[in-house]
């Protein structure tokens, strides 16, 4: 013990004697501090990202077909969407996995993207007009119009006609603008101009009443397609067992509307998507200005906010298009009083209302929401709407599915994250139908048709023989895919089928029994993830389930790799620091050893064994490394706890996802401390071993030689 004390004492004295040790110590301190600080932060980031990924979509593990050539990438990979082969026998997989220890629940899924159309304003207005005429003429149509007095119907018809004429005026303006711009002139088709010219004339409207249905048809076929307002929205969604999803992903909450009733078809839109892409742009911009102002930004000084105001004052078109005659007149009067203003055009009044400054913003914001919003449709897709989703099926043709929107949802803490808020949810049945996978009810429908028509199944191998062989009767000559099932089921029949589908309640067995593309696996104990992955792989191999298992990290695609990339960068940076420390240390210890050969010789002469000399040099470096490394660890840990008192605010919406909320609270983790300690030991011993061996071999004879 006393010898160790002596060694340490000699070491400290020797260290103090040479100022270069301060430089080496400083490097070690810096390296350790950076490592502990950033290591801890990365760990916290990893944990919060895990919370986000696991809690929003992925679950702890994801399973998908072993045959898949693409890797599952829930949050997108560069380029294409992963193409996952279907898993046909989900019930068997579910049963097998539920028996694996640590598996809590398996949630079936199918991720995809589609384009939805929400119809355009003209379509909607013309539909309303048609229903009004039908109600007036006593034909069945919109049940809400039943019992409305004829006088009011006439008034409403007049208002809608004024609306249509307002739309036409806006369109005319668009066409004129396009014509003025020579580059675009060619893109305006002459027949569109002709059609517009016709409906602009008072004569068309004077005669409108004579044959409203024919005239409506003209408007529907010729005018509606010109309106470029048609909203096409690109939508990522996951088809899933919605009940199970909501129970398993407990951060999910409904923001608007209600959950899809158990076992029914339905759609839940990601709330951020709903706000960002489906809300009136004017309203969305006002919301954003309000948020920004709450964070201390000013319209007067902020370029982005200035741009928002400018866009709002110039782009009143989306509002004006929605206003029918009655509403326009009423709104003009309301705005004249409220602003107050003497202007009489709705365009000018809206522009004035939306020309917000820091002084009047709060008032104008309230006025917009109280006076204008009730007159227009705030969201292009509302809770309760039917959504038409188009997708390419596996066989390549476009399939449509209509689903009702029950509500919007968000994940607690991730409300503002574009990553978590990019994926909507669809029931599993609609999903399967959209993808051309056989759903259980379609399968029954098909059997029914087979029975009724006497069609029989022809296998591929026998097809030629059966169809064209001797004596075979030709059953049909048709090109598959030409018959559009939606066109075939037009009109009332289609509507009835739709309503039937909306109300239909599926049993759990029906939900489970069918194709899924992948599934989320929730674990009881997430720390035992690796172990469970192994077990599931083993079970899959034993029972021939044909699935592969990946962790949430892998399943999230590039996103999951980000932390690994950061971690690699950290190791490189810290590696450079430590390599520098190691080199300087090596040279300095080498110098010190060469300078002290007489001391080592003397010690050997008076009875020190070689081992003592070796450990003396090593202890010297170890003391240096551990002292400054320890200080570095303390500094790193101190920095982390200092940062943790405030947390790091997410600099932008994207970071909400990585921070799993508005702030990242970093925590000190053990591994950077342990790894740092190992690195310090390696660096110090590594850089000192060679000089230490040299010192050890110094002969005691060296003591006898006079100092040169």
């Amino acid at each position: 013990m006393d010898r160790v004390v002596l060694l340490v004492r000699i070491a400290i004295r020797n260290l103090l004697a040479s100022p270069i040790n301060l430089l080496i110590g400083g490097l070690i301190l810096l390296g350790t501090m950076v490592f502990v600080l950033l290591g801890g932060m990365l760990d916290s980031l990893n944990q919060s990202m895990q919370k986000s990924v696991v809690g929003s979509l992925a679950g702890h593990l994801q399973i998908y077909s072993a045959k898949s050539k693409d890797e599952l990438a829930l949050f997108g990979q560069m380029g294409n969407f992963p193409e996952l082969p279907a898993i046909n026998d989900f019930p068997k997989i579910q049963e097998a996995l539920s028996k694996v220890e640590n598996v809590k629940v398996v949630v079936p899924m199918g991720i995809s993207a589609a384009i939805i159309t929400s119809g355009n304003i003209v379509d909607g207005t013309l539909e309303k007009l048609r229903n009004l005429y039908k109600a007036r003429d006593g034909q069945p149509g919109d049940p809400k119009l039943e019992g409305v007095p004829r006088e009011e119907l006439a008034l409403r018809i007049a208002s809608e006609i004024a609306h249509v004429r307002q739309i036409i005026k806006v369109l005319r303006g668009d066409v004129e603008k396009a014509m003025a711009d020579m580059m675009n002139a060619k893109s305006v088709e002459p027949r569109n101009i002709e059609a517009l010219q016709r409906v602009e004339q008072d004569a068309f409207w004077a005669d409108f009443e004579k044959d409203p249905y024919t005239n409506l048809e003209f408007l529907e076929n010729r005018i509606a397609p010109i309106v470029t307002d048609t909203s096409l929205v690109f939508l990522r969604y996951v088809g899933t067992d919605l009940d199970k999803f909501q129970k398993s992903f407990d951060r999910m909450r409904i923001v608007k509307g209600s959950p899809v009733p158990q076992g029914q078809r339905g759609f839940l839109i990601a709330d951020l998507m709903h706000e960002d892409q489906m809300k009136l742009k004017t309203a969305r911009r006002l919301d954003k200005i309000k948020d920004a102002r709450a964070n201390g930004r000013l319209i007067a000084t902020d370029d982005e906010l200035k741009r928002f105001v400018k866009e709002n004052t110039h782009q009143t078109r989306e509002l004006v298009l929605q206003l029918d005659g009655i509403k326009t007149a009423a709104l003009v009067k309301t705005l004249q009083d409220a602003l107050p203003s003497k202007k009489d055009s709705i365009d000018a009044l809206l522009s004035e209302l939306l020309a917000t400054t820091d002084e009047n913003f709060d008032q104008r914001f309230t006025q917009f929401y109280e006076l204008v919003v009730p007159q227009v449709q705030l969201y292009r897709v509302k809770v309760g709407d039917m959504l038409t989703i188009k997708a390419f099926t596996k066989s390549g043709y476009i399939q449509n599915v209509n689903v009702r929107v029950y509500g919007t949802f968000a994940f607690t803490g991730l409300e503002k994250s574009p990553l978590a808020g990019a994926t909507s949810l669809m029931d599993l049945m609609s999903f399967r139908e959209l993808f051309g996978y056989l759903t259980s009810d379609k399968a029954e429908e098909l059997k029914e048709i087979q029975r009724n028509t006497g069609a029989r199944t022809v296998s591929r191998e026998n097809a030629e023989d059966e169809l064209f062989g001797d004596g075979a009767e030709v059953i049909a000559e048709a090109t598959p895919g030409i018959i559009d099932p939606d066109a075939a089921l037009a009109g009332t029949g289609r509507k009835l089928r739709e309503e039937d589908l909306i109300r239909r309640v599926y049993t759990q067995q029906q939900l489970d029994d069918g194709v899924v593309l992948h599934a989320a696996v929730m674990l009881e104990d997430p720390t035992r993830m690796d172990e469970t992955i192994e077990r599931i792989t083993q079970v899959s191999n034993e029972q021939g389930l044909g699935i592969q298992v990946v962790s949430w990290q892998k399943a999230s695609g590039l996103l999951g790799q980000i932390i690994n990339v950061f971690r690699a960068l950290l190791f490189v940076a810290v590696g450079i620091i430590f390599i520098a420390a190691m080199l300087i240390m090596y040279l300095s210890v080498l110098m010190a050893t060469l300078q002290r050969t007489q001391m080592f010789g003397t010690m050997r002469a008076i009875g020190a064994q070689r081992g003592l000399i070796l450990s003396m040099v090593l202890v010297e470096s170890l003391v240096l490394g551990l002292l400054f490394g320890g200080l570095g660890m303390l500094a790193g840990a101190g920095a982390i706890s200092l940062i943790a008192t405030q947390g790091i605010a997410a600099p932008n919406d994207v970071m909400y996802f990585f921070f799993s909320g508005p702030r990242l609270i970093p925590q000190l983790s053990t591994w950077p401390l342990v790894v740092a300690l190992v690195i310090i030991l390696v660096v110090t011993v590594g850089s000192t071993l060679l000089p230490a061996l040299m010192a050890m071999r110094v002969s005691p004879l060296r003591a006898m030689q006079a100092d040169e």
Binding site: R3, L6, R9, R604, A605, I606, G607, A703
Partner: protein, 250 residues
């Protein structure tokens, strides 16, 4: 008196590149316990080589070197180190103190290597010795805060702290002025008389030789005779080697 060092027909060769240099060419010498013996000879005569062999920091090419009854040729490196630690004390020409340790720690160092005494006993022993060499008041000084004479006294204390049977001193006064050198020799002599420790030191200074019981003359790697200090000094006076004396006297 019994022999503590016995040297028989010892040859020591060094190879310098292709040529072999014989530093000792068949040396025979016996040193008895309690002797205060001086090895004298001109530079390059083999004094230091002989001391190195006795001090077990080097081994003979041929011949027998017995120290405290042990044949050093048959001992391992580790055993030789232990022999040095427990049996031999060293006093070096340039003192060779550990510069980062205090006076006390320098003297204590061999005791720590031995690992036999408690901290309390070590303190007692070290302080007692430092008192004997007149440095009781300098326990906490560092070597660079001491004069040459004071450093050599510390070195003497360090050499004696383990109670060795033999103390080897290689030109112990070479780096000291004559007055200090004499004081050091007085100290060594009194310790030799008090403790009965054998002292073997090399020198070519006739004033140093006077302190010895006997002077062993060595020239060209051979012992040329063993004489009384008086004869040795007389020899010196005849001018065998007077240059250094003159330099020192001036």
């Amino acid at each position: 008196m019994s022999a503590i060092v016995t040297i028989q027909d010892v040859v020591k060769e060094y190879s310098l590149g292709a040529t072999v240099v014989q530093a000792l060419r068949g040396v025979n010498l016996t040193v008895d316990k309690g002797e205060f013996i001086s090895i004298a000879g001109p530079s390059g005569s083999g004094k230091t080589t002989l001391l190195n062999l006795i001090g077990c920091v080097d081994t003979a090419t041929r011949g027998v070197v017995e120290v405290a009854g042990q044949n050093t040729a048959k001992m391992s490196e580790r055993e030789l180190t232990n022999l040095r630690l427990n049996t031999i004390g060293f006093i070096f020409q340039s003192f060779n103190l550990v510069s980062v340790l205090t006076v006390f720690q320098n003297v204590e160092f061999p005791l720590l290597l031995q690992n036999k005494l408690s901290a309390k006993d070590r303190k007692e022993r070290v302080e007692g010795l430092l008192e004997q060499v007149g440095l009781k008041t300098h326990l906490k000084h560092r070597p660079n805060e001491l004069s040459g004479g004071q450093r050599q006294r510390v070195a003497i204390a360090r050499a004696l702290v383990t109670d060795p049977l033999i103390v080897l001193a290689d030109e112990p006064t070479a780096n000291l002025d004559s007055e200090t050198g004499q004081a050091i020799l007085d100290l060594m002599k009194s310790l030799n008389q008090k403790k009965g420790t054998t002292f073997i030191f090399s020198t070519h200074d006739h004033r140093v030789m006077r302190y010895a019981n006997a002077v062993v003359r060595i020239a060209d790697g051979k012992v040329t005779g063993r004489e009384s200090p008086q004869d040795a000094v007389a020899h010196e006076m005849e001018g065998l080697d007077t240059r250094s004396t003159e330099v020192r006297a001036s």
